[in-house]
Symmetry: C2
Subunit: 331 residues, 2 copies
């Protein structure tokens, strides 16, 4: 065993490179939940998996495919980083419930029921109206529960999120968002949602994406750590972790694609604006995977114990993975 901290980041979408994988290892990041789909259909998502298979081969001294909590423990023991696949949209299952199990077989462990817009399953946070989980959504939640594919509602609207928590027989996740009571962004979550999530055994990953931070790119580390403390107080110390939403080295064309996909002929600026359409600057204290250690130090400064820092830093997600990634009967 090692005394290095075990850190898990439950959302990144970077322009993957050896440099970034080395930074993960250096930062003691035992697992990263990486996005492998924003708008892609099943076949396109498989193409992204092929690209990851090549990376697993080429960078096997740095990363390994993460399918279970044990894979994360193994990565940590070997000083590597386990890569967990997740979808930010339900587009990979198209209109076919049979693809839920197939995606799990291919390694997917998280799927959002919607991105920003209405999906076949649920409503995204940018729609004006949210009717809740659809007929197909209810079927798919049951199937995700059965195979061990975690429901992620990070980009979904309020009613859909509350209904997903209610309908799902297994705890769900909001992998990357902050409390709206701290910073009232459309993507951040109400206390109602966060309390329901916590009561059902679900997990929140704290986002470090500037649009989700109070004062944006100027948010201070202290302010961020105090927000963590208050949220842990509200939700319980075991229900929170990190989901940085780090999009390292990505060009601004990527955030434009995330927002617009191929669904609109107008330009949607999402959390940005016509004057600031690109990725916002990261806070100075969080630029890459090596900076989690500074966040943990900041948490210590605002009064967190070593045990609680270990929980939020990685142990909570590890326990959640343990309970969530297997078949329902084993849960």
């Amino acid at each position: 065993m090692t005394n290095r901290p075990l850190i898990i980041d439950c959302l990144q979408y970077s322009d993957w490179s050896e440099k970034i994988f080395r930074q993960m290892n250096e930062g003691n990041i035992a697992a990263v939940h990486v996005t492998i789909c924003y708008h892609e259909d099943f076949r396109e998502t498989v193409g992204n998996i092929v690209a990851w298979n090549h990376r697993f081969e080429k960078y096997q001294d740095l990363i390994l495919p993460g399918r279970s909590a044990n894979d994360v423990r193994r990565a940590h023991a070997e000083g590597k980083t386990a890569i967990l696949f997740g979808f930010q949209n339900c587009s990979p299952i198209e209109d076919n419930i049979g693809l839920v199990e197939v995606c799990h077989q291919l390694g997917a462990r998280f799927m959002q029921l919607s991105y920003n817009n209405q999906s076949l399953l649920a409503t995204g946070c940018y729609e004006d109206n949210d009717p809740g989980i659809t007929r197909m959504g209810r079927q798919v939640i049951r199937e995700m529960n059965r195979v061990g594919l975690v429901i992620d509602m990070s980009h979904s609207a309020e009613r859909s999120t509350l209904e997903a928590i209610e309908i799902s027989e297994r705890p769900i996740a909001i992998t990357h968002a902050n409390p709206a009571s701290w910073h009232p962004a459309l993507r951040n979550k109400s206390d109602t949602v966060l309390k329901a999530l916590a009561e059902s055994g679900g997990m929140l990953g704290f986002s470090l994406y500037p649009h989700h931070l109070s004062n944006g790119s100027q948010c201070t580390l202290d302010d961020f750590c105090i927000m963590i403390a208050r949220t842990a107080e509200m939700m319980g110390i075991d229900q929170v972790g990190f989901g940085s939403d780090l999009c390292q080295d990505q060009p601004d064309t990527v955030v434009a694609w995330m927002r617009n996909g191929t669904w609109t002929l107008d330009t949607d600026f999402g959390e940005g604006s016509a004057n600031a359409p690109g990725f916002p600057d990261q806070p100075t204290w969080f630029g890459d995977n090596r900076d989690f250690k500074d966040i943990l130090a900041g948490m210590r400064k605002v009064g967190f114990s070593d045990t609680d820092i270990a929980k939020i830093g990685g142990d909570n997600w590890l326990n959640f993975f343990e309970r969530s990634f297997g078949r329902e009967e084993a849960a």
Copy 2:
């Protein structure tokens, strides 16, 4: 010119055969709007178009591809039947607004914004909640208006339908449904919807599918014709036509597929039930395309003039096609 009646049926999904095409010709059916998609994605829909291209080649003495009102007039003059393509779902455009124009180029002239369930664009009539037209839906309506692809809300829910009528700058259609005030089926339409449709210049096609008929398979021809008269009175004589929803020679596996696609692991019985899961029996007076002449005779019996019979029998749809299938600037 010919003195044969010009009849248009604005919805059929039969198990296409030479027999059926000959019945269309014999029945003086100048045009049939045929469904070429219930759940298919773009590529699968193209496969269905390939099958139709083969039929157009093989049965060129009986049918021809219908892309415009002129094609329908030509078919009528030659004693043939023009085949117009339509989608009962928006699945062929997937999440790509650019496919709207491509589908029009491939011959599609009608697209429902949703089938029974929630789609990316609108809500189906079987959902518990209807939030109206989505963000992508507003974009797609504008694009359908631009290229001349008619919005069909036959299977959509009330609020989505009213919003589609409101948002669309061109008249829309409900190609196959009846008034719910005559027979309160989930698929039939409220007077509110029918009046808004008529006021905007839209068209209703009267359905002959037994689940949409008062007394189902036992509905009498008289009762059906009186319903036509009352609806024409409410909507105006120029806003109604036929959309029989005829599914001739189809096995019951087809209606099960229409209802269940690949979206559910439970069995959805739609308008049927566990005890009566298959296609219902047609009324004795409407079994195939040769029987429209009996409906026209029935309409005469309840008091319709020859002019009005010609309008409802085909002229109204022909005028609607004239206004609807070209580019917006030509409208």
